[in-house]
Amino acid sequence: MKNILTSIMLSILLLSSLSSNMLANEKAEANSVNGAEIWADVCMRCHNVRAPSDLSKRAWKFSMNHMRVRAGLTGQETRDVFDFIIKSKTLEDAK
């Protein structure tokens, strides 16, 4: 009986998550101002922040997806922070 209940609950959980696929990855334009705010508030809460020039653009892509899961960021917030970091990195690299 417990196994049946668990299976039903698992199925409901999976189906409810998959049914929301209609909202998948809404791609609004990245907002680097919002990204800067989240970077200052959310990242520094847990750890010392890494300078944008510490990593390549490619490495930042991976790091941001990793932090999306760990810090509970939305997809849009993840893109905003990434946009802010890359813009800052471009400025720092040009110096």
């Binding site: 959980l13 929301s20 909202l23 990855n25 508030d41 809460r45 750890h47 490619r58 991976f62 939305t74």
Partner: protein, 424 residues
């Protein structure tokens, strides 16, 4: 005579000018002709260049792959390849990250020792914005020279939409904050874990199962995030060292008992602040190690009620960093077992300040751990030097107090610790 001479010179000059004039005119004509030809060539070159650009675009879009390769195409291809390699234009790829630490400890009543070398590589793979896999291995040198290897976590996350990811595999416990986000050596502000937050303490470490997690849309300018999970059950019993405890690290079996259901919800009341509550409910599996009067045999598996509660708080402002967390796991009674249930609980509070100009960071932490057999508390004072934000040298002094269940203080093992930690 003078006039005659002057007239002859003038006439000669005039005549020579008149003779030379047609020659100059022909040069100008020639020059004009050449300019016209050059202009024509320019027009033709511009036209050819335009055609070339169109054709090269088609070539690189795969619509005209029969075009012969030449230096121009080779160059353009090389540029695109370099851009892809450097900037990660490819949809999928992987990256190696992680952290490492090196420890020295001088404890009262024993010799000082280089006690730990830990290397924890983290492998990241992602497919666009749709899927991510991350796995962390932990290698630790042991006192007998052997190397301990542990799979800390290995989980894939399918990003269903902007607000939800489906995580599958072995993941760090979403209960509280320390275990899932603060334990890496380059993030933890002291060389040791708070008491009760290490392996086999009061805080669950990992789960094997599935989880739904993500950030939620802002409500009244309030950010929030969540994680809900279902996983295999933990086990309860006597460990190899004789301690009675809960093994809440991810297992590939539930031991014939029902799954654990749990989650965490956190809000950010203001920038730099987070407050989270978490909990889980289910059963813990126990394998009997002694016969009882009511017919149960050694090796029989029974279940015990299992409840978890956690609350955590973090605030960072102007270099001041505050962290606090409480977590407890409770095991219910079962008359078939000779082991009593009870509560394993732990909490800590920590404050640190980062001087930006001199790269120093003093830290103070108090932590307390209670279980049915032991009571422990600890004050830790530390000072960190930041060579870089991810390259940190730490020294700390710990005041430790242990009491057994009879209320008698056991050895006072105050310690001096030093650690060099690096995140990459």
């Amino acid at each position: 005579m003078n006039k005659l001479g002057a007239s002859i010179v003038l006439c000669t000059v005039m005549a020579s000018l008149l003779l030379a004039a047609p020659e100059e005119d022909s040069d100008v004509k020639q020059l004009r002709k050449e300019v016209r030809e050059l202009q024509q060539m320019m027009v033709e070159l511009k036209k050819a260049n335009k055609e070339l650009e169109v054709n090269s675009d088609e070539y690189f879009e795969g619509e005209n792959n029969d075009m012969p390769s030449n230096d121009f195409y080779d160059l353009k291809t090389s540029v695109k390849q370099i851009e892809a390699a450097l900037e990660g234009n490819a949809k999928s790829g992987f990256q190696l990250a992680g952290y490492t630490s090196f420890d020295w400890v001088d404890a009262q009543g024993s010799d000082n020792e280089f006690t730990g070398v830990k290397f924890a590589p983290i492998f990241h793979y992602q497919y666009g914005d749709l899927f991510q896999f991350e796995g962390e291995l932990e290698f630790k040198a042991q006192d007998d020279g052997e190397t301990e290897t542990e799979l800390e976590y290995a989980a894939g996350t399918l990003f269903i939409n902007d607000y939800m990811g489906l995580q599958m595999g072995k993941f760090l416990s979403p209960i509280g904050q320390y275990v899932q986000n603060l334990h890496p050596a380059w993030i933890n502000k002291l060389p040791s874990d708070p008491v009760g937050f290490g392996h086999d303490g009061a805080a669950p470490t990992s789960n094997i199962g599935v989880a739904l997690r993500g950030g939620l849309p802002k409500v009244a300018d309030l950010r929030s995030n969540y994680a809900f999970f279902v996983s295999n059950a933990p086990s309860f019993g006597e460990a190899d060292d004789g301690d009675i405890g809960i093994d809440a690290s991810g297992k590939t079996t539930s031991g014939d008992v029902s799954k654990t259901w749990g989650g965490r919800f956190a809000i950010n009341p203001m920038g730099g602040m987070e407050f989270g509550v978490s909990g889980a409910i289910g059963k813990a599996s126990e394998e009997l190690t002694a016969t009882t009067n009511i017919g149960a045999a050694v090796g029989d598996k029974i279940d015990r009620d299992y409840d978890v509660f956690g609350a955590d708080f973090m605030f960072n402002i102007n270099g001041i960093d505050l962290k606090a967390e409480y977590v407890q796991q409770e095991i219910g009674e079962n008359e078939l077992s000779s082991l009593e249930g009870g509560t394993w609980r732990s909490w800590y509070g920590q404050i640190s300040y980062q001087f930006s100009s001199i790269k120093l960071e003093p830290v103070i932490r108090y932590s307390d751990y209670h279980n049915p057999e032991t009571e422990r508390n600890q004050w830790a004072l530390g000072l960190n030097y930041l060579f870089a934000n991810n390259l940190i040298a730490k020294v700390a002094y710990e005041y430790n107090e242990n009491e057994d269940s009879a209320g008698e203080a056991s050895i006072n093992n105050n310690r001096v610790l030093a650690q060099f930690a690096f995140g990459f």
